[in-house]
Symmetry: C2
Subunit: 243 residues, 2 copies
């Protein structure tokens, strides 16, 4: 198989190889710390040139998923991010606990108007002015999730700019004097990634995603913000703790 001698599918060969290896890591065939097969062996199993394998491994290494050691082999770096769903959920703490570096980045901030549903979640009237923040969160260099967050524009004026500077929801709330907050009910569903999120999460089109809807409250129970998050299903594992 190659881009030259068969009808092209529009998907580069190295991407097929990279996806195959990533799937192997995701489903446990290659565990964290494991040594991958040699480049030659991978090339033979996929019936592909060794350079094509190297392109695939380079893409995975660039995301921190594998690490090559000259003369020795290529090793699996990452594992599924264990993501406990607790009342006090902080992305940075969860990622940091796994020894990885949390990062956040603003994609877009804009003004919005509360739908009836958003208003109910936030304890506002329908039509109330909102700030809508579209952000992506990464562990090391691997995108984990994209979130759409809505806050009251009256309570948090200029929230978009503050998030762009701090890159953290926790610090954003601190900026407005909120010292602590808790997560309310969380709804989890699954779906297929759309083209926009696929590009943001560096996911192949149509891969499964975990969809999480949740609203955070301050310690008095007043709603602060409501979120709609889409997680790359193959990179994260939710842990629900009973009790």
């Amino acid at each position: 198989m190659s881009m030259q001698d068969t009808a092209s599918s529009g998907v580069a060969l190295w991407r097929l190889v990279a996806d195959g290896i990533e799937r192997g890591i995701a489903d446990g065939r290659f565990a964290a710390g494991d040594k991958l097969p040699g480049e030659m062996e991978i090339a033979e199993t996929y019936r592909v040139n060794r350079h094509t394998v190297r392109r695939a491994l380079a893409a995975l290494a660039e995301r921190g998923l594998v690490r090559a050691e000259r003369g020795s082999g290529t090793y699996v770096e990452a594992q599924k991010l264990a993501y406990p769903l607790r009342s006090r959920t902080r992305f940075s703490e969860i990622v940091g606990a796994g020894g990885r570096e949390p990062r956040g980045q603003l994609i877009e901030a804009s003004d919005d108007i509360a739908t009836r549903e958003l208003a109910r979640e936030l304890g506002l009237k329908a039509g109330a002015p909102l700030v809508r923040i579209e952000a992506i969160r990464l562990a090391d260099r691997t995108p984990i999730c994209v979130s759409t967050t809505w806050l009251s524009a009256e309570l948090f004026p200029g929230a978009g700019a503050v998030f762009a500077a701090t890159r953290s929801m926790t610090k954003l709330l601190e900026h407005y004097g909120v010292r602590d907050y808790r997560r309310g009910a969380t709804r989890i569903t699954a779906g297929i990634v759309d083209a926009t999120d696929a590009a943001r999460l560096d996911l192949a089109l149509g891969r499964p995603i975990l969809v999480v809807d949740a609203t955070d409250h301050d310690l008095e129970g007043r709603p602060l913000m409501t979120k709609h998050s889409r997680f790359a299903a193959e990179r994260v594992e939710f842990l629900v703790e009973n009790g």
Copy 2:
């Protein structure tokens, strides 16, 4: 966006455009007979060169999904294949009823050994010799499903060669003197396509598939063959008729 000025994702631009249009057809934004937007307009919405759009449309036209009319426009040809699940289910009849030409093709035939589960379905002992047939079914030039079929090697010796010649399970059974057969219980689940099936079905990696497991019996209730089929979810719609 282009292959040149951004980090490449390993998926060709024309494929993204083609997938977008096909999704539009699948979810009803473009109905059968509808005129698509002009090539220029599509190019603008995807921010892509017109030639790239033409490449995408050519791929869809080659599969019979759209039809271009010079000077007029490009029109949607296909619609989801309505696939009724009845006791007497024949792929060729279902496809023919929709005015499309059914095709079947052998991918691979090999000997196999009955697992406990396969043996139970076929009324054999575990370890009994089987013939395993891997086949793909198309409506016109669009792949609809890939099936793995197991038959008893003792009852149907050389079944692989017969299927390769006849390209039809019904004719294969006729060759061995089976004049009619009925479908037993059918189990339907969903999943994500793997790389092998994705290539066979001309599906993007990770797209949803409908997984059907079923066993066919002769009129006396003796099991003939058991199947494991994977349908491209976006091209087919199962109809379950009550009664």
